[in-house]
């Protein structure tokens, strides 16, 4: 009898736990990074605003911890779980196998081992093209400093897109890169920014998540760009614009789909056209002509009239990557491993 009661009790618990539809988020950094994780959390808040409960766990390390966190979210009654960094790829798929009724969405990865896993990412490189155009026009030293995180295709794609666009308006451009091997390490990012400025860069941009680099640029009096989020208030004079990742519409759409039972496996890669990549207001210091030019380019990239990777494109060794008159396909972009001509140094191998 006692046994029966406890079973009924547990049953009741599990039913009440599953009663409410819940969405969970796993973040790689703190929600206060004012960059990557901050933007994902803005997306989460939009889900809450749509009337769906959405919780999060921040600063989840890659490695053994991430799988436990994802599993705990699945176990504690979350029906849809967004894992928002590339290092959660295998753990997400591992947990998805054991929770077929829970939906999983992994950002910036490529593995969908189970029908309840989707992947999604944004075409950040389209924003990089705009930054490259501005940088090529604004630089006096013809040297662009770039703080990079990990040598994965997503980051290399951004470096290449930026360099190609800068070369188009300024053939003498050189891109100097410092790899910090972290997504979020304000100390390292600041050091890297200073080192690049010391090497003659008068434009600083970064593929890392904190505001450290733009703050260093502001102090040194060089131009900079915000990453992932509008960082204007951290460097009001120095920032020319920011690439904004706007995850909110996607998160709301997918959460509602999961709640209403219309969710299906997808591989999403949205850009300027869909609004997943957006640009912060342009700094008037650019001059109204340049602002108009860039706004036109932004429209053309969104409509497909312009493309970030239009041939001819050569790699550092002079091998042809994309022929004249054609554009790079998603296969080449997804596996991009080499720098284009004009980037200094080697991809860490």
């Amino acid at each position: 009898m006692k046994y029966l009661i406890s079973v009924l009790f547990l049953l009741g618990l599990s039913i009440s736990a599953n009663a409410e539809f819940k969405v969970g988020f796993v973040y790689v950094g703190p929600v206060t990074d004012h960059g990557w994780t901050y933007q994902h959390d803005e997306g989460r808040k939009a889900v809450e605003a749509a009337g769906i409960k959405a919780t999060y766990v921040e600063s989840v390390q890659y490695g053994a911890d991430s799988e436990r966190v994802i599993r705990q979210l699945a176990q504690s009654g979350h029906d849809l779980i967004f894992t928002t960094s590339f290092g959660y790829m295998d753990p997400t798929n591992n947990v998805a196998k054991d929770f077929p009724n829970v939906k999983f969405e992994h950002a910036t990865g490529y593995k969908m081992d189970h029908p309840n896993v989707s992947v999604y990412s944004a075409r950040f490189y389209q924003g990089r093209t705009l930054l490259g155009h501005i940088a090529g026009k604004m630089t006096k030293t013809n040297t662009i400093g770039y703080i990079a995180s990990f040598p994965i295709p997503e980051v290399i794609r951004g470096i290449n897109a930026m360099t190609l666009a800068a070369q188009k308006v300024n053939p003498d451009i050189k891109t100097k890169i410092i790899w910090v091997f972290s997504w979020y390490d304000p100390g390292k990012e600041a050091e890297a920014a200073q080192a690049l400025i010391d090497q003659g860069a008068d434009i600083i941009m970064q593929h890392t998540d904190s505001t450290a680099a733009v703050q260093v640029a502001e102090k040194a009096g060089v131009w900079s760009f915000g990453q992932a989020s509008d960082m204007q208030k951290f460097a009001p004079k120095s920032i020319l614009t920011s690439i904004i990742d706007d995850w909110a519409p996607y998160y709301v759409e997918r959460s509602i789909a999961a709640r209403d039972g219309t969710w299906s496996q997808q591989n999403t890669w949205h850009g300027l056209k869909e609004g997943m990549v957006a640009m912060a207001p342009y700094n008037p210091a650019m001059g109204s002509d340049l602002v108009k030019e860039v706004e036109q380019l932004q429209k053309d990239l969104a409509s497909g009239k312009a493309n970030s990777f239009t041939g001819p494109i050569y790699d550092q060794k002079g091998n042809l990557l994309v022929a004249e008159g054609s554009v790079a396909d998603d296969g080449l972009l997804g596996g991009m491993k080499v720098y284009v001509k004009g980037v200094e140094g080697d991809v860490p191998q």
């Binding site: 999060y56 766990v57 390390q61 890659y62 436990r68 994965i152 491993k337 191998q349």
Partner: protein, 361 residues
């Protein structure tokens, strides 16, 4: 102007039972301090503490995760206790863990797609040797060149981290992995056997338990253990008694490094299954807290590792259910150590107020 004079006196009559009980006092003070912090953050302290310390281990999966997390902490802390007992300050267990992981992981990659019962033991052994060799660097430098082992072992952590970075980004990165900084997933023969279906707790826990028993045997039942303790209490006495102090330094570092190396291998062949840059969330440093909280005693260290492991899990559940910032876990670890050191101080020293005196200055 008058000032209060304070005199600090050493106590000579510290009882052993109180010495062993202070960690428990420290834990209670931490719970109390934690409650105050939760209250200040606007949460119901009792509810928050419940989500922090009870919810994470209220089911089988949670218990398995607790043991999974405690396994490397306990193993490293046991190794460190040999060093700390003999006054050798090995602060670089994190580096020894990583280097052991690198060597063990390298062997695992060598045996990629290779079956055989001998694969895993070879990996574990090579990880132990890796950690051991890496720990011998500060030991040998200390014995022959009189360098400071705290600095050398600490700085070697960065050497190990950078070496791991280099390997997973470059030569060992997964050829099919789109340049992501990680190796291939190891083959099944190179993975720790899972003890229960659906849980992540693996055979590594037996290695830890055997090590705990062996270290108890060595420390309390052998001549070597006696030598280690005597040199910790007084190096001069040890030398006078004819113990070979230099060899002892190298031996305790080797034991400590081997334990850390095995812990590293346990992580990569257990829950992780590959090498990448984040094979350890600073287990090597957290184990220092564990070693002291456990009073450098094998049984104490078992309990200490469970408690510290719980602060990791609790921080996650507290965030999932109450959205309490995750860094409270680290705050709790810091508070435990703070209260332990503070109560130790008051335990060993008497503070005497000598009354008000005229200040001439």
């Amino acid at each position: 102007m008058e000032v209060q004079l304070i005199k600090i006196e050493k106590r000579n009559d510290v009882s052993r039972s109180i010495f062993l009980l202070t960690p428990i006092l420290a834990i209670f003070l931490t719970l109390f301090g934690g409650g105050i912090i939760f209250y200040a953050l606007g949460f119901n302290p009792l509810e928050a503490l419940k989500f922090f310390f009870i919810t994470p281990i209220s089911d089988l999966y949670g218990l398995s995760e607790l043991l999974l997390k405690a396994t490397p902490l306990c193993l490293i802390a046991i190794g460190l206790s040999f060093c700390f007992k003999s006054n050798n300050w090995n602060i670089g267990a994190e580096g020894q863990l990583i280097f052991g992981g690198i060597v063990g992981g390298g062997v695992a990659l060598l045996f990629y797609n290779h079956d055989g019962f001998y694969v895993l033991p070879i990996i574990i052994l090579s990880g132990a040797v890796g950690g051991m060799v890496f720990a011998m660097i500060p030991a040998i430098l200390k014995t022959f060149f009189n360098t400071n082992e705290i600095l050398v072992s600490l700085m070697l952590v960065y050497v190990a981290k950078l070496l791991l970075d280099y390997l997973v980004v470059g030569p060992w990165s997964n050829p099919e992995g789109f340049n992501f900084p990680e190796t291939r997933q190891f083959s099944a023969s190179a993975r720790m056997p899972i003890l229960f279906d659906g849980l992540r707790i693996h055979a590594g826990i037996f290695i830890t338990l055997v090590t705990v028993f062996l270290s108890w045997l060595i420390l309390y039942k052998t001549y070597l253990g006696f030598q280690i303790k005597v040199s910790g209490l007084s190096l001069k006495t040890a030398n006078y008694a004819g113990y070979k102090g230099k060899i002892m330094i190298i031996i305790v570092f080797m034991i400590s490094g081997a334990c850390a190396g095995i812990a590293g291998v346990g992580e990569i062949t257990g829950p992780i299954g590959q090498l990448h840059r984040n094979i350890s969330p600073d287990y090597g440093f957290t184990a220092i807290i564990v070693a002291f909280l456990g009073r450098l005693n094998p049984v104490g260290i078992i309990f200490a590792s469970l408690i510290v492991a719980l602060t990791y899990l609790g921080a996650e559940t507290a965030q999932i259910f109450l959205q309490i910032p995750k860094y409270t876990g680290q705050v709790f670890q810091g508070m435990i150590l703070f209260f332990l050191l503070a109560s130790d101080y008051l335990l060993f020293f008497k503070i005497k107020f000598l009354g008000l005196k005229k200040n001439d200055i």
